[in-house]
Amino acid sequence: MRNEAINEKSPWQNITEGNQIYEPATSRRFCTGEWRTSTPVYKKDKCRQCLLCVPVCPDSSIPVREGRRQEFDYDHCKGCGICEKVCPFGAIEMKEGK
């Protein structure tokens, strides 16, 4: 049984042996962003592209393209606020809610 066929409605008979997952990189499909209770907001005008926020994000939710950070990946950002603490230029602000 392929894993996409398994969801929260699946009967026990469909669960794979030991919950094994037979394909790679499936964690992308697991939207940890649903857990968020506060949300980082990117203030692009204040950002100096120092990229200090990128490696500290525990969920790899700050994508970088051609040396510049992009908008947050809200599908996976859990709203922990570490990036806000790290940003030296006040370019990230936490707001309440998703």
């Binding site: 009967p11 026990w12 008979q13 669960i15 042996e17 030991g18 094994q20 997952i21």
Partner: protein, 394 residues
């Protein structure tokens, strides 16, 4: 033609391991199982097998490495006893829920404290809820035979569960007995090659083992795990049948010794069954009284129905436990056999004894006394002590 030898229980397990030549053995020494990895290491050093030995710093790591190797696709063996298995506790459950067919040679020894190195079943009985198949032996021959059947059961596609092959510390592990061994080729043919359908080292199928299961999945996962344990019953019997065709030695969930026509039955696990058989024979030939024995071989999965049918019509049954569970009631075997009898509405009289804790001896005379008390109980119908002791100073 079988090979006639004289081996200790530990030597018999090591002999079987050499014949099977598993891929990986992570192990940490602990009395009385230490000799098993020691003998296997000798065979590796002498080039008799190409098993990879992993030197670990604890039993926690031994079982962790066993899980990793089994997930990678290797056939894995380890050995331990007592507190060594207690240190594996967390991983025992993981091996079972990850459905990895690890085989553990367990040499039963009392758990601390007080610290004690002798035989009782507190280690494996404590792990009875971990999801491992548990198979026990009376003699060195049975240890060897059970070990050869372990992989075909564990790796069977309908099962995929870890198996614990248990024997009584020192009594069989260090006691030397006559034994019949199979030729290497016959063992290899019987056990077969291990070809898992999914494994981490398969480059063609990337996979994940042991993922987090939130409450929306955990219960279904546990139900599926239970199903594997239910299916194991059939596979255990089929494997035993195949083994009997090869060797003539027959095994089931339990052995019934002069039980069929017996009025009074003792239920026991492990080496003390041999002593009990002597008592049965002596009583029968001296008095003609119908006494018998039911020796449990497979405790997990628990053969509830079969056991209840074998005991339901007895006049009185005594279950002997070689471990405490501090329920301030009986022992684990007593509790489960009693529940099984209830499920078939048996009216048999029932008592539960503790014996042999921390290696305390049990004699033929002790067993005769139990049978005497069973006979008395069947007449008086008065249980004076539901949870009595054998060999306790009081």
């Amino acid at each position: 033609m079988a090979i006639r030898e004289r081996l200790s229980g530990n030597e018999a397990v090591a002999y079987a391991i050499r014949q099977i030549n598993p891929d990986v053995m992570p192990a940490f020494p602990i009395t009385p199982s230490t000799e098993i990895p020691q003998y296997v290491a000798n065979d590796m050093a002498n080039g008799k097998i190409d098993t990879e030995f992993i030197h670990v710093e604890s039993e926690h790591s031994a079982m962790s490495a066993a899980i990793g190797a089994a997930a990678a696709g290797a056939r894995v063996v380890t050995a331990t006893s007592s507190c060594g298995m207690a240190l594996m506790w967390e991983e025992l459950y993981v091996a079972a829920s990850d459905r990895l067919p690890v085989v553990l040679a367990l040499v039963n020894r009392a758990l601390s404290g007080p610290i004690n190195i002798n035989a009782d079943h507190s280690d494996s009985m404590g792990a009875r809820d971990s999801g491992w198949i548990q198979i026990y032996a009376e003699s060195n021959q049975e240890v060897y035979d059970n070990f050869l059947q372990a992989y075909p059961i564990a790796e069977h596609e309908a099962v995929r569960l870890p198996v614990m092959i248990c024997q009584d510390g020192f009594i069989t592990s260090h006691g030397v007995e006559n034994i019949l061994l199979l030729e290497d080729e016959k063992v290899r043919e019987f056990v077969g090659e291990y070809c898992p359908a999914h494994y981490l080292l398969n480059a063609d199928e990337p996979m994940a083992v042991g993922p987090y299961a939130v409450s929306a999945y955990y219960m279904e996962t546990k139900r599926a795990q239970r199903e594997a344990m239910i299916r194991a019953k059939r596979v255990i019997l089929e494997t035993a049948e195949r083994f009997a065709r090869l060797t003539g030695r027959k095994y089931g969930f339990f052995e019934e010794y002069r039980l069929e026509d017996a009025d009074y039955a003792i239920v026991i696990i492990g080496s003390a069954a041999g002593t009990c058989k002597a008592a049965v024979d002596e009583i029968r030939s001296a008095t003609g009284k119908k006494v018998g024995l039911l020796k449990i071989r497979v405790f997990r999965p628990f053969p509830e129905e079969e056991l209840a049918m074998a005991l339901r019509d007895k006049k009185a049954v005594a279950v002997l436990d070689r471990s405490e569970m501090f329920a301030a009631a009986g022992g684990p075997l007593g509790a489960e056999v009693r529940a099984a009898l209830y499920s078939v509405k048996s009216r048999t009289e029932f008592v539960n004894y503790f014996y042999g804790l921390g290696g305390r001896d049990i004699t033929v005379e002790d067993f005769k006394e139990v049978y005497r008390k069973l006979e008395e109980l069947s007449k008086t119908h008065e249980v004076r002590d539901m949870y009595a002791y054998i060999g306790l100073r009081e």
